[in-house]
Symmetry: C2
Subunit: 126 residues, 2 copies
């Protein structure tokens, strides 16, 4: 459980720092990410996953934050999932709304890899 | 894998049919659902999960659809996750946008239970 917690916390820090190598260091080749922006069917495959990050990094560099506030991990022998609540906002934004993150992980050669991510904000009523 | 696939497909049918007993039949007491509507921190515990459904059932009865179009399951010995793309819309709505679903499952006494759900639509740009 500590390995997965560390993996996700390291990933989150790299997301904030714009470290693409670290962000993508522990993903399966067939990662499927349901991301906040379209397309609805998500980002599929490690190449598409890599390509999805630069715009987000640019925003983070402008002074935004990406901080995991709560992380729960449920770990089996070779499959696990985890979910988190994170602050993901402009630095001055004091909205209580948080990003919700879910991860699906598999173990290969003794090491955990992320095979699925789901990122979303709740739908704000108009 | 077939057990989990059947569990989720049965759940989805019950969601459409408004069958609360069936929708909530295979969940852990401490289920955490990140739902489409607020609150951002999700619906926590089986009582809150049960209470979250009636409004949705009413909408489904008005002629809406809830159909899983794609479902992938990754199953370990006692922990699993799954993700799906579903049509969730008014009957006449031909939008290509789909609901994204992620499930985290655990096995207890030989039976799979859903411990986590994450439902979202992609964020539409203004």
């Amino acid at each position: 459980m500590d390995d997965i917690r560390k993996l996700i916390e390291t990933w989150a820090r790299a997301v904030h720092e714009g470290d693409l190598a670290q962000v993508t260091a522990h993903h399966t080749d067939d990662i499927v990410m349901f991301d906040v922006p379209p397309p609805y069917e998500g980002v599929r495959g490690i190449d598409a996953y890599r390509a999805s990050w630069p715009g987000f990094f640019e925003w983070q560099r402008s002074g935004a934050v990406f901080d995991i506030e709560e992380l729960q991990v449920v770990e089996g022998a070779d499959v696990a999932f985890a979910f988190a609540v994170a602050r993901c906002a402009d630095a001055g934004d004091d909205s209580p709304v948080r990003l919700r993150l879910t991860f699906g992980l598999t173990k290969a050669d003794g090491a955990w890899q992320i095979a699925h991510e789901h990122h979303s904000f709740p739908h704000q009523q108009a």
